[in-house]
Symmetry: D2
Subunit: 278 residues, 4 copies
Amino acid sequence: MCRWLAYIGEPLRPSTIVLDATHSIVAQSLDSPLGAETVNGDGFGFGWYASGAAATAEPALFHSIEPAWNDQNLRELTRAIESPLFFTHVRAAAGPPIQQTNCHPFRYENWMFMHNGAISGWRDLKRDLTLAIDPGLYPNVLGTTDSEVLFHLALTLGLQDDPIAAVGRAIRMVETVGHEHDVRFPWQGTVAVSDGSTLWAFRYSSQGRTRSLFHSTDIPTLREMYPDQARLAAFGDHARVVVSEPLNDLPGVFVEVPESTAVVLDADGYRHESFLGA
Amino acid sequence: MCRWLAYIGEPLRPSTIVLDATHSIVAQSLDSPLGAETVNGDGFGFGWYASGAAATAEPALFHSIEPAWNDQNLRELTRAIESPLFFTHVRAAAGPPIQQTNCHPFRYENWMFMHNGAISGWRDLKRDLTLAIDPGLYPNVLGTTDSEVLFHLALTLGLQDDPIAAVGRAIRMVETVGHEHDVRFPWQGTVAVSDGSTLWAFRYSSQGRTRSLFHSTDIPTLREMYPDQARLAAFGDHARVVVSEPLNDLPGVFVEVPESTAVVLDADGYRHESFLGA
Amino acid sequence: MCRWLAYIGEPLRPSTIVLDATHSIVAQSLDSPLGAETVNGDGFGFGWYASGAAATAEPALFHSIEPAWNDQNLRELTRAIESPLFFTHVRAAAGPPIQQTNCHPFRYENWMFMHNGAISGWRDLKRDLTLAIDPGLYPNVLGTTDSEVLFHLALTLGLQDDPIAAVGRAIRMVETVGHEHDVRFPWQGTVAVSDGSTLWAFRYSSQGRTRSLFHSTDIPTLREMYPDQARLAAFGDHARVVVSEPLNDLPGVFVEVPESTAVVLDADGYRHESFLGA
Amino acid sequence: MCRWLAYIGEPLRPSTIVLDATHSIVAQSLDSPLGAETVNGDGFGFGWYASGAAATAEPALFHSIEPAWNDQNLRELTRAIESPLFFTHVRAAAGPPIQQTNCHPFRYENWMFMHNGAISGWRDLKRDLTLAIDPGLYPNVLGTTDSEVLFHLALTLGLQDDPIAAVGRAIRMVETVGHEHDVRFPWQGTVAVSDGSTLWAFRYSSQGRTRSLFHSTDIPTLREMYPDQARLAAFGDHARVVVSEPLNDLPGVFVEVPESTAVVLDADGYRHESFLGA
């Protein structure tokens, strides 16, 4: 339903990949070759952990209801900061209104979350799932998307202690409630979560046919593969992205994340594990 | 927290009172002498029952997050239609975000609703009150305001059968839940409701110090009082408004609605009754 | 660069063709099969001459910077009015900013104008063409598009007296100024103009390869061609549209307007003549 | 017509004065005690020279058509960056439409400009003044305000070589053209300009009754005056602001800039000189 990008690594001017890549996330907002929808023009969001003197534990968020492709503020902002960890999300709304509170990423304290996909039968499941949110967290739900409810279910179920287990529990709860309402495949989607140090990404759907997800190959390997690619000089050795679809067409740069997989990216690099598998 | 205007009577070009009165509702958006807030610039809404060939049972809504005072679309629209019953609302947000789904009036089938005031302690009461909405109506709550929840509580409690009783029950429920959360004066506000034929307005607060509310004197009387007022020619004999504050400074044109009162305006004219009084 | 629709005929609820057709203009905003751009999501406009008691000589305008496909206000408005003559335009911006003043249609007194196409080399030609506008009209230019300048050139050159001649003169001026700046093919586009009674449409480009333009077949003929098409009951015998591309896939309903052609639609029906031809 | 704030000094989180001061510029957007208008709700702008690794010669701009007081993005952004030189402007529109291209500050290469005030008779003077802009600069005029034209006149007349002389010449040109059109007092306003290193501010009006302007006292002096003010710890020794009106009520913190004065703030501190005086 949407397209997203998450970066972790050396502090980077976000425009480098948000604007300047062949299939940058802004280009994908207008034309997304692998997307369930070609156009992702129903608003966007950009969230970043500041670096340098402006750093705080809490990420900053920029949300807009305009299409990303012609948004001047996004261009200005992503060229004027650096960040070691940022999320960008372009939205194709599947129902809930176009408003800033429905733009990803969402935030809770130092945590940031975004999602591409949907809870099937959301209109019927919304009440039960919303009630399952910890009453102390309930007032923090500001919008009306299924994605934000999933985030708060994960927070309710232990996201801050064990992100992979908690996102798994939240999705299982969606599936349980969905099955009670005769929804056959309740969950669909890819998710990115961060606490400011580690980036987790998830690919899973009840049907086993999940929206696309890719991670980038490590930069030292790419330098060997493409010694003439001047563009690689923009990236540090630890730079990594996880994206809904490749940002360029160079073979080997982007590797598909398998179905039912949880990805972990941190100072130790990339690893993944089976997630909600059979 | 806001200012509103409701009109019932002969079909009228809404601009006549939305734009052209001395203290029109648009003028009040920038400067509201009697308002709890002087500025009501956090979006606005206009809802109308169409007349003539375009008439339908359901009212049409125009919602905007821009301040009303410089909104060009509102000017254009209210000059190009006629309506026998319309609502206008300018918002001063007391918390919930500035987004179209938080703009009044709200609609359910042929019913239209708007509110000036607040539920005190909304952040703490929201969950319990939202749960009290009929689960079949719950998916129709599109925004995050206390006002929209009150509307759906009233629908849950019989608005379509007995509006005065149902609004009373909904407010009593707010008071009960509020007192359980140690909120001393949970409800504050004036409300307008219509089914397309009759206009009901309510003034009540738990503390007995409710936001201002006025109704206009009947037009034949005003013609006698002000025989030289050319402006009165714009109105039919059955034209009436209920407003948060007077639209002009002429003595006798606007009469304050007493505390704890329900107003009824229909083809038979104006009447009122005690509402939630001691 | 854009897609547009113009209707003339018996008063019609605009939603009938703006929203409800197979390839309605709103559907074209997201996916335009024949468009120079597939996506026309950079705002939209709707202008209409009111009918019935609300009628005035001047058309009313509704402009929005949001994509049309998810705009709730456009849905509400086009379902709640009737109009005998209206324009709708969805924009794919080729440079000038996304703002309401750059949304078509434009208005001058009782005249309404919209355009799909572009002046090539606009950045270089803008100053000379803007200076050619009558100084008395110059302050009415509110936005920064080439289209609005063309409209004011046509007004300067006699639009109100002889629309076909004046639009021709304005385009010739664009070509002259363009050639002075070494622009080979300065003008591209289709234009719609109305004074509230007659609808003129133009298809012409300096290169002779103009954006697509179609007009509908007359309704009595369509009723004979498609006796089982229930949808035709929505239209009066004099209903006609001119559109950038067909609103449905039924053979014979939409007829292409030839290159270098001016179309006239009024109470006498459809006719066309050669326009700026060799 | 507006209110503005310019900061120069040690890199500072802009929220410190944009959001957190008693009469912060955001607070002034809703309630401006010294303003020609109390409410400055017609959009806003924030422009900053980035510091640290993200620094570039060109400032970054954030423009919004929403009122500043409830804008969440402005809050997020000004808390997540640091800057040694930034401008903030809240707008009360005196005519030209509410659109991002009409929001201050404006930019040309490394130069940034903002204005509070107006050119009287703008509708009549606009054409002549716009024509006086260097044709090579003309395409860079993106909006429709008098302020942006003044900026480009100053650029035309040598801003980059001698800012004080060039702003003076531009204002004199406005006065000359105004007098030709029988406008008695053509220019009103305060202006801020920067090249990224130096901040110039101007206070002048044809009538000699200019909108208010203040500069802050140097921080070491303030520390002596107010040894118990913990808030002063947020500022470096070279921190200075120029503002339309004081950001707090402490005596001696803000000093009025005299009529007909040009202010210069740079690494050498504050100085001023007579500007366009008799």
